[in-house]
């Protein structure tokens, strides 16, 4: 449904992205930020789904600066080890340049929201703090809350976490909710990665359905 394209960041770096256009006039733009496995099959389906909802959706390849066009379907130990290598030289600051490039591309569809999973959830929060021309953010189980709790969002934001996540302490989610009472901080009876439909052992359909409906409603409200 979508197409593989390239986009340019403000520092001249050219990265890959997967973009899907909706039928008819877009109701806004959505930037989809990947998990650590890159813009793989599942992320492509998420991007396509946003287009079906009427948004111009784009998923930038966030690890291109380290490993060009990296994407993996290997959720096993081999894929994990590869990720470990990639992340050794990954830069959070440069990553926001790539997000910004994706926002500019998605802005063709109108106001832009950002959403992402795991790694992408944390990036969504950081992007909401940076602004980057975004209008709303909806992040999923972004780990390392102590590393971003002080970064106050400049735009409306909501976050989704699982109460059985062994990588994100529920107490930290509670602190985030207390710190930002106006943000939608939602908790589901699920573990980490509960929205990845390509991983049946992780996928929690009921929780993901509920969270995804919230994201859709949130973006419809803030990107209209």
């Amino acid at each position: 449904m979508g197409e593989r394209i390239t986009i340019a960041a403000s520092d001249g770096f050219v990265l890959n992205a997967y973009r899907t256009r909706p039928e008819g006039i877009p109701r806004g733009g959505v930037v989809v930020i990947q998990e650590v496995w890159g813009v793989n099959h599942w992320i492509s389906t998420v991007t396509d789904r946003w287009a079906k909802h009427g948004f111009l959706a784009i998923a930038p390849s966030m690890f291109d600066r380290v490993s060009f066009d990296y994407r993996s379907e290997d959720y096993g130990p081999g894929g994990m080890a590869r990720m470990g290598e990639i992340m050794k030289t990954f830069s959070q600051d440069k990553a926001l340049l790539d997000v910004e490039a994706a926002v500019k591309s998605a802005a063709e569809g109108g106001k832009v929201g950002i959403m992402g999973y795991c790694f992408g959830g944390a990036v969504s929060w950081r992007a909401a703090h940076a602004g980057l021309g975004l209008s709303a953010a909806s992040g999923y189980y972004g780990g390392g809350i102590p590393n971003y709790i002080d970064l106050a969002p400049k735009i409306p934001i909501e976050m989704h976490y699982g109460d059985k996540d062994t990588g994100i302490p529920l107490e930290q989610v509670e602190q985030l909710r207390a710190r930002y009472p106006d943000a939608g901080i939602y908790v589901y009876p699920a573990g980490h990665g509960f929205c990845n439909a390509d991983r049946p052992e992780r996928f929690d359909e009921a929780s993901c359905k509920k969270a995804s409906a919230r994201s859709l409603e949130f973006f419809r409200k803030h990107l209209a």
Binding site: V36, P146, D165, T166, P169, G191
Partner: protein, 142 residues
């Protein structure tokens, strides 16, 4: 009144919850309190050979450092051991024992992971779920 075995089952279920959520101080606190109470239930069940409940507790805690630590934690004295969520740096390539979620989160957080520790007054610390499991195991085998 629950039987001793039912008390054990309840504590073991609470421990399983704490192990499944290894970063939850709330769940860890509950297990510590249950273990402390379970010691009393063991005395109530009889055949301890101890003169009184205090003597029984002292003898038991002397026999197991893990039990002694957990009981001290349950006492919640300001100068006693405390539960603390600390960030730990991972040595490159050393990921054994991490859940997948912990590993993934560590990747984009500078190779650090949060862990729930029992922090002792002398500055030493022990992984909380491991300590609780060791204490309950010691009580089972007493």
């Amino acid at each position: 009144m629950l039987s001793l075995e039912q008390h054990f089952s309840y504590a073991e279920a609470a421990l399983a919850d704490a192990v499944a959520a290894p970063l939850s101080a709330r769940k860890a606190r509950l297990v510590a309190a249950l273990i402390d109470a379970l010691i009393d239930r063991c005395f109530d069940a009889g055949r301890t050979g101890a003169e009184d409940i205090l003597a029984f507790r002292t003898k038991l805690l002397d026999s197991s450092p893990a039990l002694a630590s957990v009981v001290a934690l349950a006492a919640a004295r300001p100068d006693g051991p405390q539960l603390r969520l600390d960030v730990e740096s991972l040595r490159p390539g050393v990921y054994a024992g991490l859940s997948e979620a912990q590993y993934m989160v560590s990747l984009y957080n500078g190779s650090t992971i949060p862990r729930l520790f029992v922090l002792f007054p002398d500055g030493t610390r022990q992984n909380a779920p491991d300590l609780l499991a060791g204490a309950l195991d010691a009580l089972r085998k007493r």
